[in-house]
């Protein structure tokens, strides 16, 4: 039975049966996609398995990679509104399929606490880490800025498409991706928020969960999209 299992798992593209200790949180979008596929399969409707309708990109394999990074400056947040700084680190070595990356989306899950009712305004900035330095000890050397966005009253999770990462991966097939995340609270609101909450930054630091959703298109199974002839 084990031998047959092994053969079948190889057919599924796995070396052995995974044995995770506990399941990672699955974002709503993945649940939505699989539910839609199940419904379509049950009704016998034809499906384009090389296009992810829910994300609007071509692709036949979706991976959610957990962040393996660490926080910087974990002392009390400064009065300039800087809430947290974190190095996000993603292991992309599993993404080695012959094909191309069509999407890389950073998902920041803010945790169960909603910041919506506070009208808290966060500024999220994400940069590429050019040089890690001494891992976990020195401040990394930063490269180009990928995201800078102001979010008013955030709740649930925030998603950011990292188009630059897609281009980089398709050029060099990176094994690791290190990003620098900084979250700031808008200064004019900070004092008001501070008065209402014990320390929103501290809470955010404890509840923040980052992951990277990557979509790949295997050209062996999916032909590149062709333009219709006129």
């Amino acid at each position: 039975s084990e031998f047959q299992d092994y053969d079948f798992l190889q057919f599924l593209g796995l070396k052995k049966a995974p044995s995770p200790h506990r399941f990672q949180p699955v974002p709503r979008i993945l649940r939505k996609i699989i539910r839609a596929r199940e419904t379509a399969a049950a009704s016998g409707a034809s499906q384009d398995l090389c296009y992810v309708k829910e994300l609007g990109v071509r692709g036949n394999l979706l991976r959610l990679l957990p962040d393996q990074g660490f926080f910087l400056n974990t002392q009390k947040p400064s009065q300039d509104g800087s809430c947290l700084q974190k190095v996000l680190s993603f292991n992309l070595s599993a993404v080695k399929e012959k094909g191309k990356l069509t999407m890389a989306q950073l998902i920041l899950h803010l945790g169960p606490r909603s910041y919506h009712y506070l009208q808290l305004e966060l500024v999220v900035a994400v940069s590429v880490v050019q040089d890690r330095g001494v891992w976990g000890r020195s401040h990394p050397k930063l490269g180009r800025l990928l995201v800078q966005k102001s979010v008013l009253g955030p709740q649930g999770s925030l998603q950011f498409n990292l188009q630059g990462v897609v281009k980089d991966w398709n050029r060099h097939q990176l094994k690791n991706l290190d990003l620098y995340l900084e979250i700031l609270v808008k200064e004019d609101r900070y004092s008001r928020v501070n008065a209402q909450l014990d320390n929103p930054c501290n809470q955010l630091m404890h509840s923040l969960h980052a992951s990277l959703l990557v979509v790949t298109l295997n050209l062996k199974h999916c032909h590149p999209s062709s333009r219709k002839k006129r």
Binding site: D5, L12, G13, L14, A17, P18, S19, P20, F23, Q24, V26, L30, R31, I33, I34, R37, E38, A41, G44, Q47, L49, N60, L61, L62, R63, L64, L65, P66, N91, A94, H221
Partner: protein, 114 residues
């Protein structure tokens, strides 16, 4: 007038049977997040020579059945899947990556003699 078919013959003819694969039975529930299982189905039944043209058969199956009549050393045409469809699976690997992948040819939609 139609020739009456003996009772029970139709039931034994090649057709699709329902089979639900429950991942818990395979111990796969430890790493497959969704679905909990799927309707895989299977094909089973006879492919008699006289019926091959009715049983969604290929030309090859007809020739094989004909050859079996002429020489029993040639095996009979058998009941096989003629149309399959994929399923999507959401699972977690040992690197804590959550993966959504499609697997072709996992569900038997139609059966025939081949």
């Amino acid at each position: 007038a139609a020739i009456p078919i003996p009772k029970g013959l139709c039931r034994n003819l090649c057709h699709r049977h329902q089979l639900f694969v429950n991942f818990q039975d395979l111990g796969w529930h430890k790493w497959v997040i969704a679905p909990k299982g799927f309707m895989a189905n299977y094909c089973h039944g006879d492919c008699p020579f006289t019926m091959t043209t009715y049983l969604n058969s290929s030309n090859y199956a007809f020739m094989q059945a004909l050859m079996h009549m002429a020489d029993p050393r040639v095996p009979k045409a058998v009941c096989i899947p003629t149309k399959l469809s994929p399923i999507s699976m959401l699972y977690q690997d040992n690197e804590k990556n959550v993966i959504l992948r499609h697997y072709e040819d996992m569900v038997v939609d139609e059966c025939g003699c081949g």
